[in-house]
């Protein structure tokens, strides 16, 4: 069922915020404003933004190296997030974590681990704490398909299921060509042709959906969250997306250019090497084209202009922020 427009518009705004933020990250990396590897969420915005919009303030989250979208979706300030990526003192974590470790405990993030599989296991701990505290909160754990290659993931899924912990596992499978089971899986690294079967093997309820479709994510997440809150967790969701071509090189590259929303309104048609991804798999363009009917097109343009100004301000704030003083490097090893 298609998500009602009044629910879809705020999701589009958040998804655009994440998209424009990461386009700015690409620019700043290109300008050598920061060094080091980074991971972009482009192509997966529908999953994180929709799911996180359904969480309650008391819920806990654990995420990974590909965290920008999750942290912004949960409401982190884009300026402080960008400052963290640039290693500035005003960053979310004072520049100590950087792009791979954005987070904010005030927003419920218990950890942003760059170790593949790490977040699944720590998220189980968050679920353990949620149950011990007895306040009805749940833990949402977001990770990629690669995390299921790690041994720790089996231990974590087994413990969560054995102890019936209130954990929602969201596997963002960005390695596939199709969301239908058994098609286009990363068979070079997974012997299984069905990632849900890994969670099923430890008796977990599983659901698979098109991760680029806000309506599909919305209905699956509502059902999964209800199960978790009713003590019938954990639940394992597999959100399948088509990998953004810019993530295929070893280093992210802006191969699809800045998102041009005129492709959503029909003013221009996608062309070139990546036309298929832009036409069918870009979640931002997919949602925008759905909302572009009638007065929608103008509203999208105005929304985008507002978002772009916000990101411009975030970049200015980050670039103007001081680096942390060198003598603080020895501080806060221990609480």
């Amino acid at each position: 069922m298609s998500l009602r427009d009044e629910l879809a518009w705020p999701l589009l705004e958040k998804m655009l915020l994440v998209r424009r933020f990461e386009e700015a990250v690409l620019r700043l990396s290109d300008e050598k404003q920061f060094i080091g590897h980074y991971h972009l969420y482009i192509g997966q915005e529908a999953t994180g933004v929709t799911l996180i919009s359904l969480l309650e303030p008391r819920d806990r989250l654990a995420t990974t190296h590909r965290n920008h979208g999750h942290v912004l979706a949960r409401g982190a300030d884009p300026g402080r997030a960008m400052a963290e990526i640039l290693g500035r003192a005003t960053g979310l974590y004072g520049g100590r974590g950087g792009t791979i470790h954005l987070g904010d405990p005030d927003l419920g993030f218990i950890s942003t681990s760059g170790i593949v599989g790490g977040c699944i296991s720590l998220g189980v701990g968050a679920g353990y704490a949620c149950r011990q505290r007895g306040e009805g909160a749940i833990a949402a754990v977001l990770f990629g398909d690669g995390a299921l290659e790690e041994g720790i993931s089996f231990e974590a899924l087994n413990i969560a299921s054995l102890w019936h912990l209130p954990v929602l596992f969201i596997c963002e499978n960005n390695s596939t060509g199709s969301w239908a089971p058994g098609q286009g899986y990363p068979t070079l690294v997974h012997a299984s042709s069905d990632l849900c079967s890994i969670a099923k093997s430890v008796n977990m309820t599983t659901m698979r959906m098109d991760g680029a479709d806000v309506s599909a994510v919305h209905s699956a997440a509502i059902e999964a969250l209800a199960l978790c809150r009713a003590g019938k967790g954990p639940v394992f969701l597999e959100a399948v997306t088509r990998r953004w071509p810019g993530n295929n090189p070893l280093w992210p590259e802006p191969v699809t250019g800045a998102t041009d929303l005129r492709m959503a309104t029909g003013e221009i048609a996608p062309s070139g090497e990546h036309a298929d991804w832009l036409s069918h798999h870009d979640p931002v363009l997919r949602l925008a084209s759905r909302l572009a009917t009638g007065a929608g097109a103008a509203r999208i343009a105005s929304l985008d202009a507002t978002v772009c100004r916000r990101i411009e301000d975030a970049v200015k704030f980050a670039l103007a922020s001081p680096f942390p003083a060198a003598e603080t490097a020895l501080e806060r090893v221990f609480a």
Partner: protein
């Protein structure tokens, strides 16, 4: 003063921590291993059934559950079993728990407590005789305690639960049955403070865990021969109480460091380096290390004894430091 075994005091610390704070829970209840003291945990199981859970054989998963729970605001105690099993949870301990507070600029503390039974236990062979604490000292952000007495294990475990930092408590398997004096009202003991277990003018012996007990026995032997050793029990390995070590060496001018970790980059090496760097002028003789040999621990009893520090080896090392014929 009343006497208590190390195991009894450890169980008291767990019981009192559970009673004092509803956020405390135990993940893994075979804290005393499978030996004769294990029944001491029965009263904890009986009185706190909802706050004690035994995990699957999944050390990394159990450690991570405790770490994640601590990040989310509760205070779990994770028993990792034998001292070789933390290697299975290495990534979780050294690369999640240890770094979180620093990496989040002080926003995400990790008040988890780990416990393990370390050491050459008798027929443990290479894989069940480990003392991983020196390796763990290379992970900034971990507090590591290695108590030697009933009063100390009680006080340090209570302090570990109260601490906002991830703390690893290592108990030597051979300490569990050893009795020592405890005060009528056992108290928390601040982390990071060494304790002078015996005063003496001639030589400083620095040790921790079971080696503190062995060193005290060696000191008695030496006393009978007219040598008065001062015995510094580190109690906490990280952070290290450099001041107490240096003050003792300032009094005696001689240092023997005893530790059950292997020789290279061990606790003994670190103590020796601290004194070389900050107390070179205090020394009247070279520092001597008495440690486990730099080999895996063999199974057969004579071989095991050959690679493990004991009182005779400590006595001999002290005499060499004093320039006496051994």
């Amino acid at each position: 003063m009343p006497m208590q075994s190390y195991a009894e005091a450890l169980v008291d610390a767990l019981y009192d921590s559970l009673a004092a704070d509803p956020r405390v829970s135990l993940i893994g209840s075979y804290v005393l291993g499978l030996g004769p003291q294990r029944h001491l945990m029965d009263r904890v199981r009986k009185d706190f059934p909802d706050r004690l859970v035994d995990p699957p054989t999944a050390e990394a998963g159990a450690a991570a559950t405790g770490i994640g729970a601590a990040m989310a605001g509760v205070r779990p105690f994770v028993d990792l079993g034998t001292g070789s099993f933390p290697y299975l949870a290495w990534s979780q301990i050294v690369n999640e728990a240890a770094v979180s507070y620093y990496m989040s600029n002080g926003r995400i503390p990790v008040p988890v407590t780990f416990h393990l039974l370390h050491g050459v236990r008798g027929a443990g062979a290479p894989q069940h005789s480990h003392s991983p604490q020196a390796m763990l000292c290379n992970a900034p952000g971990l507090e590591i305690v290695a108590p030697a007495t009933a009063a100390d294990v009680y006080g340090l475990v209570r302090a570990a639960f109260a601490s906002q930092n991830p703390t690893v408590v290592v108990s030597h398997a051979k300490l569990l049955g050893i009795k020592s004096e405890v005060p009528a009202q056992k108290q928390p003991i601040p982390l990071g403070r060494a304790d002078i277990k015996r005063s003496g003018r001639d030589v400083t012996i620095v040790a921790n865990s079971l080696m503190t007990q062995i060193s005290l026995a060696a000191a008695d032997t030496l006393a009978a021969e007219g040598v008065e050793a001062e015995m510094v029990d580190l109690r906490t390995l990280s952070p290290l109480d450099e001041a107490t070590i240096l003050a003792s060496v300032a009094r005696t001018g001689r240092l023997v460091v005893v530790d059950e970790c292997p020789l290279r980059c061990g606790i003994a090496s670190e103590v020796a380096a601290v004194v070389a760097e900050h107390g070179f002028g205090l020394l009247k003789a070279p520092v001597t290390r008495v440690t486990r040999a730099q080999v895996p621990v063999p199974y057969s009893q004579p071989l095991e004894a050959a690679v493990t520090p004991d009182a005779a080896k400590i006595v001999a090392a002290v005499k060499r430091t004093l320039g006496k014929r051994v």
